[in-house]
């Protein structure tokens, strides 16, 4: 079930709101009902893996309880390794088999096991909690609260990756208290904005770019098309930012403020700034659970500390690439971003100061160029796009190019979604709210006539 699909918007969401409205006055029912709704949501989208999700919750929770009793860190280490092994099995087994086959000079059979929806996200949620439990920072929780942390439907499939400390205390709070109408107005604004980003901007760019990338996989691109393909990063920005905004809006409808995931990243003036504004929750996860441990461990002698620091930066970004997909092009994309961060870090320390406009232009160009590698699927296909840039952009498509004009303008000029929502919900305004209702209906009409596009981040 997709957030931009009628079954979700017209059936599941109204039903879930109604059910939760009935449960809201009863404190002992609130979390249980939200867990049930979340499992129903997951089962609707990925029925074959619902048992995996339930088992994953049960095993990780039992491990946390066992650790609480016996205080053996090995219990938590073991279950984290198990989580990573399950993730590796579903997400990376075929990649490993293919590469092993290359090394052995043979073709190993591929596993036909599918990819459970949101497995990366719920695995990372487990890890965040268990590592913090091991560090003595996290308390133990009851099963229902822990289950909701992992399965809470607005965030279960593609984030935002919320820390346990950000959301656990919010679960089970009464939603319908004085002021709930304001929260719902804010939530509706987030959902409308997210749907607009996804179905109007990102999907329109996808309609233009999908055939071009399909062509690039087979050979050089006809003149001009490569310039359109070069703009893929705008598609993924509005696709994922749109998803995150819808998730945040849905969270608010159920009384939970999820963390923000984007902060106008294409207005960044250097690549380090960019990574503090793009997929913020993933980067915070990687910083705290990969980068810091790598930097703080005594791997190299003290005089090589800068080398270890930059090495950790590269490894973290390479893993970030690999997290996006089991393919060497994703690793290459991650390594390139890691290298860019190393260069940026050194430049900021030793190089002359850039005017901010030049830093911004270089950052945007770098993000767009590496976005081609991210999307192309192979270095060869990416090369077809890059070599096509020698031909000038063709304007033959005329008005159909509007998404590639509107998207950069919005990405470069507008503030982050949360700031936009803050502006429109500063004061209650029934006229504006009425217009929002009409806009929501217009978005529903827009969705009704188009093919569904999955959110890009669902496959990660």
């Amino acid at each position: 079930m997709l957030f931009n699909d009628y079954p979700f918007l017209l059936v599941f969401l109204p039903a879930a709101l109604l059910i939760y409205r009935l449960a809201d006055p009863h404190p002992h029912l609130r979390i249980g009902v939200q867990v049930a709704l979340s499992l129903a949501f997951y089962a609707w989208g990925s029925p074959s893996f619902i048992l995996l999700l339930i088992a994953s919750i049960a095993i990780n929770w039992l491990a946390s309880i066992a650790y609480g009793r016996v205080k053996w860190p090995a219990v938590l280490t073991l279950v984290i390794v198990l989580d990573l092994a399950v993730l590796a099995l579903f997400k990376y087994a075929n990649f490993l088999l293919a590469n092993l086959g290359l090394v052995l000079g043979t073709t190993l059979p591929a596993l036909d096991i599918g990819l459970p929806l949101g497995i990366s996200f719920f695995t990372f949620h487990h890890i965040m909690y268990l590592v913090d439990l091991k560090r003595g920072k996290a308390p133990l929780y009851a099963l229902d609260r822990y289950a909701l942390y992992i399965a809470f439907f607005p965030q279960a499939i593609a984030g935002p990756l919320a820390r346990w400390s950000e959301v656990m205390h919010q679960f089970g709070r009464q939603v319908y208290v004085p002021g709930w109408q304001r929260q719902f107005c804010i939530a509706t604004s987030f959902i409308a904005l997210g749907l607009f980003e996804k179905v109007v901007i990102a999907d329109s760019i996808a309609h233009l770019l999908d055939p071009i990338y399909a062509e690039a996989a087979h050979g050089p691109l006809p003149s001009g098309d490569a310039w359109l393909a070069f703009c893929f990063s705008f598609q993924i920005l509005f696709d994922f930012s749109g998803y995150s905004d819808i998730a945040i809006g849905l969270g608010l409808l159920f009384g939970v403020q999820l963390p923000y995931n984007f902060n106008a990243p294409l207005r960044s003036t250097n690549i380090q700034d960019f990574w503090q504004r793009w997929h913020i929750t993933l980067m915070l996860f990687l910083r705290d659970y990969v980068f810091y441990p790598l930097v703080n461990s005594r791997l190299l002698p003290r005089r090589f500390l800068p080398l270890q620091f930059f090495g950790a930066m590269l490894i973290t970004m390479a893993l970030c690439g690999l997290w996006h997909g089991a393919s060497w092009t994703f690793v290459l994309w991650g390594v390139l971003h890691g290298l860019a961060q190393v260069v940026c870090s050194l430049w900021r320390r030793y190089g002359p100061r850039f005017p901010s406009w030049l830093g911004w232009a270089l950052t945007v160009l770098f993000v767009l160029a590496t976005g081609v590698i991210f999307r192309a699927g192979s270095v060869e296909a990416a090369w077809h796009v890059f070599s096509g840039l020698l031909s000038p952009l063709s304007l033959e498509r005329g008005k159909h190019l509007w998404p590639l004009i509107a998207a950069p303008l919005a990405a470069f000029l507008l503030p982050a979604s949360q700031d936009l929502v803050a502006i429109v919900t500063r004061r209650p305004n029934p006229w504006l709210a009425g217009a929002l209702g009409i806009a929501l209906f217009a978005l529903l009409l827009h969705m009704g006539g188009r093919d569904l596009h999955e959110f890009v981040y669902f496959k990660f």
Binding site: T188, A422, P430, G437, I438, L445
Partner: protein, 336 residues
């Protein structure tokens, strides 16, 4: 939210705002729903209080519904663009039946079966059925559906499935087009559905494109005998009255694409032909005719717009063959 609010979070105006938002959303939805109920934008017969006849749309996958339920016809031609040149009016003249063209550009067998089901649901007394079976019918495993999704919701029995799909700009546009037709300001499309592609591919023009998509030969005889699309058609035809006339034709292609005798491709073709022939076997005034042969007509590029789209001269011969079959059954003399 880090906004500095000048009004209280519990200001009753927030409640009014939420109400205004939901009210506008539901009001707009009700208005559109009312328009759809009154107009039935795709002329599906499931809704519509105004009694407007016909549609104006270039998408044959959409317009087939309006034609398929038209009570003025009792016989139909099914297929994709390889059936398009068969003129229903010519067949009607020659057979005393009232034919409608239900071809859909680029359609697959399972999509044609959905329209067949819709046609049968709307006609109690069917005179004849004609199928142009292109190589899509000869696959040994149903392929995954690709390209633009087929509007199964339009041909579905359920009003709810249909109504949900009417929440779209396209449906609103269609509704206004239908109102224009109702007011006489716009012409409906030709009710019998005939549209010649020679308007865009004029005689004398040939492009080496659209090779027939024959399935790859399979290894074993057992595999070769499995035709899931034909089996699905057979299931439908078997349930129809025993005296209903059914003609299946294999549309011609340029001779250079016809399988040479003795090749695996020829074996494949004859296995598919045999399966199609079995569907109509034993029915009165029914026949199977393969026009996919190598002869003087199919060798002449002037008779084709590309490898699979034949021109009017061949279409007339096909119409004669169908008409003769509907008269004499398997004993019909086919001049091709």
């Amino acid at each position: 939210m880090n906004s500095s609010t000048s009004s209280s979070e519990t200001d009753p105006a927030w409640g009014r705002s939420l109400l205004a938002c939901l009210g506008a959303l539901s009001g707009a939805a009700l208005l559109v729903l009312a328009l759809m109920v009154v107009v039935d934008p795709y002329d599906s017969g499931k809704l519509g209080l105004l009694g407007i006849d016909g549609v104006d749309n270039r998408l044959t996958q959409i317009t087939a519904a309006s034609r398929a339920r038209n009570p003025a016809f009792n016989a139909a031609i099914f297929g994709n663009s390889t059936a398009q040149m068969i003129e229903p009016a010519e067949l009607s003249r020659a057979t005393n039946q009232r034919f409608v063209q239900l071809y859909m550009t680029g359609s697959s067998p399972r999509e044609q079966l959905a329209v067949l089901d819709f046609f049968l649901r709307h006609h109690k007394d069917v005179g004849a059925l004609v199928f142009a079976a292109d190589p899509g019918w000869c696959v040994h495993a149903r392929p995954k559906e690709e390209g633009a999704p087929f509007p199964y919701w339009l041909y579905d029995r359920s009003v709810v499935t249909y109504a949900v799909r009417l929440i779209s700009w396209q449906a609103i546009e269609q509704a206004f087009q239908r109102i224009s037709i109702g007011l006489g300001r716009r012409q409906r499309m030709n009710p019998d559905g005939f549209v010649s592609y020679e308007d865009i591919w004029p005689p004398g023009w040939f492009k080496e494109t659209n090779g027939p998509r024959d399935p790859a030969p399979v290894a074993s005889t057992n595999e070769r005998a499995v035709f899931p699309e034909i089996a699905a058609l057979d299931d439908v035809i078997r349930k129809l009255p025993a005296d209903l006339a059914v003609v299946i034709i294999v549309p011609p292609t340029l001779a250079s694409t016809v399988a040479k005798a003795g090749t695996d491709a020829a074996l494949e073709r004859s296995a598919c032909d045999a399966a199609l022939r079995k569907v109509v076997a034993g029915r009165p005034r029914s026949n199977f005719i393969s026009y996919r042969v190598d002869n003087a007509l199919t060798r002449d590029r002037a008779n084709f717009a590309d490898f699979i789209h034949y021109r009017a001269a061949i279409a007339r011969r096909i119409e004669q063959g169908i008409a003769a079959s509907l008269r004499d059954g398997e004993g019909a003399k086919i001049d091709f």
